[in-house]
Amino acid sequence: MVASASQKVTYSEISPSEFFYRNRDLAGFSNPSRALYTSVRELVENSLDACEQASILPEVECKIEAGPEASKAGDQLQFILTISDNGPGIEAKHLPNAFGRVFYGSKYKLKQSRGMFGMGGTMAILYAQITTNKAVTISSCFDGKIIHTLDMLIDIQENKPVILRHETKESDGKTGTSVRLTLMGDYLRAAQKIQDYFKQTAVVTPYADISLIDPDGKVTKYERATEATPPPPTETKPHPYGIDVEALRRLIKLSQDQSLAKFMTANFHRVGDKTAEKFLSFAGFEKSAKPKSLSNEDVVKFVNALHQFEEFLPPDASCLSPLGEEIMNAGIMKELQPEFVAMSVRPPSAYSGFPFIVEVGIAYGGKQIPQGVRLLRFANRIPLLYDEANDVAFKVINDEIDWKRYRIPQDAPIAIITHVCSTKVPYKTVGKEYLADRPELERELKNATRDILRKLSTFLARKGSMEFQKKKLNIYGKYLPLIARFATELAGQKKYPDYKILLKNQVQEEEERAAEVSAEAPKDTQLSLDASIDRENKTLETEKDSERFSLNEEAPGDEPEAEEERDAF
């Protein structure tokens, strides 16, 4: 083949909404069931975010109504989805763009929120429009006085809202936003995930009142269990470790500061005079140098130095809004009703300059939790329901925890709840389904998980120790009379010796010992004692171990491997 004449190549530009319209799978709208689920979720999250930013106790209602039968196509059906909240509302001037423009929103900040990409709501509206050609209706009251209601379409090619109707009416003083859209969906297939989503959301937002009204009119209410709310997250300055060349250039461009030292304290998270000075000396810059005087090469050098300097303080948590023990406890107790619950909230940490906090809870027993370990994952209070096996938390719990250490029975009924909050959650996809295994995140998850497992282990050991007391009494009561009998007969005596005093003494003594031990459980001693009790439950293996152990205690010359290494014959 000889190269033929060039074919005509044409170039074109597309808008962001066009891009996501064409590639909607990327945002979680890959099929009618997933699209319905994603729409519900994105809009509910917008509502919760709005309430929490405004420190309002959230009240959110999600209503899914079936459209007319005629609108059916295969397993799909038109659904009318209405999400209403009591949030702060949106100013009328922002209303069209906030919902009708991709890459426009309130979430492009270094601040914790459920939304990350600022386009979930718009994508839901876009998807509704391209499947049903119906306008979305948005109502919002921002000032408590006037409710603005818009009927709106999106001009996808231009990435801009097209307003069909704009009405106003008086409010009764309440603020809030309501979005009503009509989309093709597959509720039958999506129902389970939607229910899971609400159920799990209720675990981490026990301070919210959430109602779900399904197409049959059935109402499921997730009622407020506490009025305690996490503090609203605030915006933060970037941490030095998170700065790249582009970011530094932008900061310099905006900066009015006269010296690099001042520039640093003014623009970087947790950098004071002392740290700035130390850093500049480390990086080889004059502290009095003007930021704008840095050359292109200087900027790169500066950034590299930022990443290598080891004395920056870790980011603080002020910009983060973890749930905290109280709220998480309330959520777990309310939704899972376990016999035992424990929490571990890790101190703030950071990856690539983004602060994050890991919180892990464990729930054990009760009637709701099935046997085996169940994992509930959350990131910035969003339940993550898909692709569990790809998630870093799954990896940690399955591969990196030595469960044997904690002596928790394999089939114990356990739910582990992980919550990662960050100004930037390291999702692997726009669909927000699982977290990347960043080493820092992995480490924190591991530490927190170990912590809660220790707590559960202690609980189980104490629980066992109570039963231990009773059993011990039984054991002495059982064997001492037998010993007396066999000794008497073997010795050819007539009268039994008086062994009852021994019985009484021994039991008191043992009780004291057990009490001490259980106070610092779980320990090998405790478990070895337990094990010897277990003989009575016919578990010979354990029994033999403990037997050998005890012999060694008293005859230190003995070696514990005795049985295994003995000659085969």
Binding site: L490, S532, R535, A568
Partner: protein, 384 residues
């Protein structure tokens, strides 16, 4: 019932080193029994006194952990070292096995008193009559071994037998000591399928023999072949089928035949490391029975099947498994295996990595093993 002596009295009879009279046999048995009963009783008395003093009774006995099993190169067997373990009823972890051990002493005492035998399995179930129980037979077997260690006596002396079925054949007249058969005599060449070595044979006294040696083989099939090919006549031999690893009662029997009748013992086992070890355990005892004596035949000779025979006789072989090889390597480090043939043959096993068995000689016809192999080996044995 009365039995006549065997009829082949024209042959040269082996002189009994000390021909025991019927009376002697009875007296010895009675003495042994009294001694044992006294020992058991003292266990009970000690516990009884402790209880009366408000003390928790306890047993002390030699530890059977590996670190306390040492090789006695004089005795040429494993023995227990000096470490003792204590089992106290005052320890919540010990009280159960302590009670079991005391019960077993009590039960053995009854058996000896009543002149009954029982099996390991019987012991496991018998405990229930006394509100004692064992999780499984492994647990009661373990306690039986503990009592052996406490008393330094084999369980067979306590009338507890395992269910094992080795057999004997050859010109040996014995006299029973078991109840109902006291004084009865039997010649062990009268039944060509062989006699089971059970409680009554184990406790019988030897009266008379024309045999000049003992040949122990590992397998019933070869035992039958040897009888059929009249090895007992050709070699003036008493034949013993160890049925695999020789049971203790059979090892005890071999020792008595060797010591009391002054007969040399030759062992022929399968051509693999387990076969070699079967021979070794007859000669030097096992680590498991380090707490006991009188179960070894230090002068016995292992005559085959050697690893070198696999090569020499071009026997059909199988490859050694990983486990076989591991076992061979372990045995190489075993102090019983020092010297001559033992190390040499292990080395060859490890080199050729093949194994075989006694029946493999059938490749050359059924009689080859007797007409050729055994002949070669008995010749060779003279130089061992």
């Amino acid at each position: 019932m009365k039995k006549r002596l065997g009829t082949n009295q024209k042959r040269r009879r082996k002189e009994m080193p000390s021909k025991p009279s019927k009376k002697d046999a009875k007296r010895i048995a009675t003495e042994r029994r009294a001694e044992l009963l006294a020992q058991l009783k003292s266990l009970g008395e000690k516990a009884y006194n402790d209880l009366n003093l408000g003390q928790f009774p306890q047993f002390a006995f030699p530890s059977r952990s590996v670190s306390n099993i040492v090789y006695d190169s004089k005795l040429k067997q494993y023995v227990l070292g000096k470490t003792n373990v204590k089992r106290s009823s005052g320890n919540i972890k010990h009280i159960r096995p302590f009670t079991q051990l005391l019960w077993l002493a009590f039960f053995a005492d009854k058996l000896v008193h009543d002149g009954k035998t029982s099996t390991l399995r019987d012991v496991y179930y018998s405990s229930q009559a006394y509100n004692m129980e064992f999780v499984d037979q492994a647990e009661s077997d373990e306690i039986i071994t503990d009592l052996e260690a406490v008393l330094s006596r084999a369980r067979e002396q306590l009338k507890i037998y395992p269910e094992e079925r080795s057999a004997i054949f050859g010109d040996l007249t014995i006299e029973y000591t078991v109840p109902g058969y006291e004084g009865n005599r039997l010649n062990l060449s009268s039944h060509p399928d062989g006699y089971l070595i059970g409680p009554s044979l184990s406790t019988a006294e030897f009266v008379d023999t024309s045999a000049e040696m003992i040949i122990a083989v590992e397998k019933g099939g070869i035992f039958t072949r040897f009888v059929e090919e009249k090895v007992h006549k050709k070699y003036k031999a008493i034949l013993i089928d160890t049925a695999g690893q020789a049971p203790r009662s059979t090892r005890y029997m071999l020792r008595r035949l060797n010591k009391e009748l002054n007969l040399p013992v030759y062992i022929m086992s399968d051509g693999d490391v387990y076969g070699e070890h079967i021979a070794m355990v007859i000669i030097s005892g096992s680590a498991n029975a380090a707490h006991l004596r009188d179960l070894t035949v230090p002068t016995a000779k292992w005559v085959g099947v050697w690893a070198s025979d696999l090569v020499k006789y071009k026997l059909p072989t199988d490859p050694m498994t990983e486990a076989d090889i591991k076992r061979a390597q372990e045995l190489k480090k075993d102090p019983r295996y020092t010297g001559g043939v033992w190390q040499r043959e292990l080395d060859i096993f490890l080199k050729i990595k093949r194994k075989s068995e006694l029946e493999a000689f059938s490749k050359y016809g059924l009689t080859f093993i007797v007409d050729n192999y055994l002949k070669d080996k008995m010749q060779e044995a003279k130089s061992l």
